[in-house]
């Protein structure tokens, strides 16, 4: 078996990104205030690249299932392969669902398939947790477990490198000069760091009483017809759809056709089930006329439908929807309300 752990210095890593940028679209996380965001690798902005930290503002799906993707046109355009670095455990876990939807079943989505297979994912351990992080309650962890090609764990001024896939191995072999032998205690340091961040998240979960998947199981069905409860949950919802759009597991889209001078094109565009028109048909019928029904639909899809059809809770505990909601609707509090069968409206943030 070939070796699968190495170390790489920050400088060598950025040199590697510079070289890779010739033939690839290299996406890395930058830090701005308290937020991290993905953008193309720019050597001039090396000082604000943060590969550790926590999950970025954009969900991983933004790159593998982009917001507006051409799925049909007369002109076939090819783009350079994608390399995304600094991807966190919560986002990697969302690939279970995105892959199930777009690659599973009788019909595959060839556009997703091509992007997904052509993308190299460089994961990275979280080096701290936000108050909104609750991945552990959703069976996740603040470090990559699956679906990455290479993982980086920050150790002082270098990274411990874990090679997971053949694609990752090929990259390491091609650029072997950048990868060094790891130090003897690197793995211990990595595991201590992981344990520390796990501890932070467990504290957040305990302090807030956030429910876990075992407790949540069955709670949507149990309260399905308790209309007043759902109305309470939705009382500050403004139907903006932000929770859908920032969610790494939300996969719904609508096909949109457009005609330019030369040809007709079809796009796959993100849609949001909180929008009133989501399920409405041309004849006017709408199975979810009321806002609380649409909010309930979101929770039903994530915590009842997907557990039922694929034994997967479609929430990674990334907490993006909590930050994005202008109505301060906190998914953790809604889940608590569902498990307890009553809504204790928390004080405003």
């Amino acid at each position: 078996m070939s070796q699968n752990t190495y170390k790489i210095s920050k400088k060598d890593l950025f040199d590697l990104f510079t070289r890779l940028s010739n033939d690839n679209r290299v996406i890395v996380p930058y830090i701005k205030g308290e937020q991290l965001y993905f953008d193309y690798f720019d050597p001039k902005k090396e000082d604000i690249i943060e590969l550790g930290g926590v999950r970025q503002s954009q969900p991983l799906k933004s790159f593998i299932n982009p917001p507006r993707e051409k799925v049909l046109s007369q002109n076939k355009t090819t783009s350079k392969p994608l390399i995304i670095a600094g991807v966190k455990g919560c986002d990697l876990s969302s690939l279970v669902l995105q892959d199930f939807v777009f690659l599973g079943g009788d019909v595959k989505d060839p556009i997703y398939e091509e992007l997904r297979q052509g993308t190299l994912i460089i994961g990275c351990d979280c080096t701290y947790a936000k108050e909104t992080c609750f991945c552990i309650a959703m069976e996740g962890a603040p470090y990559p477990k699956n679906h990455y090609d290479i993982n980086l764990s920050c150790i002082a001024d270098y990274f411990l490198v874990d090679v997971k896939s053949e694609k990752g191995l090929n990259l390491v072999e091609k650029y072997r000069m950048f990868f060094k032998e790891p130090d003897g205690d690197d793995i211990d340091i990595r595991d201590r760091n992981r344990g520390r961040v796990m501890g932070q998240i467990k504290d957040h979960i305990a302090r807030r009483g956030t429910k876990n998947t075992a407790e949540i199981k069955g709670s949507v069905k149990k309260n399905y017809n308790l209309v007043s409860l759902w109305q309470d949950f939705a009382s500050t919802c403004v139907e903006c759809g932000a929770c859908n759009l920032v969610c790494p597991t939300c996969h719904c889209f609508i096909l949109f056709d457009e005609r330019s001078k030369e040809f007709a094109a079809r796009y796959r565009t993100w849609d949001a089930c909180l929008y009133k028109t989501f399920a409405r048909v041309a004849g006017g019928a709408n199975p979810r006329k009321h806002l609380h029904e649409r909010l309930r639909n979101r929770f039903e899809k994530k915590f009842d439908f997907f557990p039922h059809i694929m034994n997967y809770f479609a929430c990674t505990g990334c907490g993006r929807c909590i930050e994005a909601c202008p109505g301060n609707i906190d998914l953790r509090e809604v889940l608590k309300g569902l498990v307890d069968g009553k809504w204790n409206k928390p004080p405003n943030k």
């Binding site: 799925v71 019909v107 595959k108 719904c252 889209f253 949109f256 056709d257 989501f278 039922h308």
Partner: protein, 273 residues
């Protein structure tokens, strides 16, 4: 390479038949291989403009042409209505499950249609007529708002000539000088008709409110909930169970339906909306 499920083939409009003031039947000649079984649907595209799902209303044994009976209801259907013979549409599909004709063999087939909901049922009727003696009885009950709102006016009453065990009855909500048949909602012409309920199936397609009260009436008459086939046509975009729009409880209407037996969906919320 994986086939692109969002791609369509071209289909030329061979003929446009005015059915009512807002319903037309388009006879299309597909420029490629695209068949279907009665009950399955296809997406009809105006290239560069948009698409909408419809169940063909023609005989599934005929491959050269396909009929789509379309009511002008939304953006795409209104634009389709403006299209003429010789213009080109797009087709992709077929999607969904077909009516289980093998299970219908030697049974009494009780079909209830409302308005433009007769379109997919005409495909079913034609499929039944292909082997009409395989079925014990074929009974159609059709309801429309007024005589002018009936589709397939020129052929509907001739269907009873296909075989002695085919019967057709229609009702209108509001009659006019020409109408000599029943006046009332379609549920007023749903009677037992000496049907042996242990050996009968009912198939319903129409507007949601009509489907709801028809289903309740059929249950009253003694039809089993597992033998009542309902067309649950929801907002569908992709047609292949990925876009998430048409979910009904644990199902996607596009993939697991659009036809469901009532027992599968009766406990799900808002199925009639």
């Amino acid at each position: 390479m994986t086939k692109n499920p969002y791609a369509y083939i071209e289909a030329e409009i061979l003929d446009v038949i005015d059915e009512t003031h807002n319903i037309k039947t388009f006879r299309l000649k597909p420029r490629g291989d695209i068949g279907f079984r009665a009950g399955q649907f296809m997406d009809v595209t105006i290239p560069g403009v948009g698409e909408a799902p419809f169940t063909p209303s023609s005989n599934h044994n005929v491959k050269e042409t396909l009929d789509f009976t379309i009511m002008a209801a939304g953006r795409v259907t209104k634009l389709i209505h403006g299209m003429k013979k010789g213009e080109v549409l797009g087709l992709r599909g077929p999607y969904g499950a077909s009516y289980p004709l093998a299970d219908f063999k030697s049974k009494e087939i009780f079909i209830v249609g409302g308005g433009v909901g007769l379109a997919p049922l005409r495909a079913l009727l034609y499929a039944l007529f292909n082997d009409v003696n395989d079925y014990k009885n074929v009974i159609l009950k059709y309801g429309a708002r007024t005589p002018k709102d009936m589709v397939y006016k020129n052929e509907i009453f001739s269907w009873k000539d296909r075989a002695p065990h085919v019967s057709i009855e229609a009702s209108v909500d509001v009659g006019d000088d020409t109408w000599t048949g029943n006046v009332g909602l379609v549920t007023t012409i749903l009677k037992n008709d000496n049907i042996n309920m242990d050996n009968a199936v009912a198939i319903v397609c129409g507007p949601p409110i009509m489907m709801k009260f028809t289903t309740f009436k059929l249950l009253d008459l003694g039809f089993k909930d597992s033998r009542i086939y309902l067309s649950m046509e929801k907002n569908m975009s992709c047609g292949v169970g990925k876009c998430g729009h048409c979910r009904i409880g644990p199902y996607y209407a596009c993939k697991d339906g659009p036809v469901f037996t009532y027992d599968k969906i009766k406990d799900l919320p808002n199925i009639w909306d």
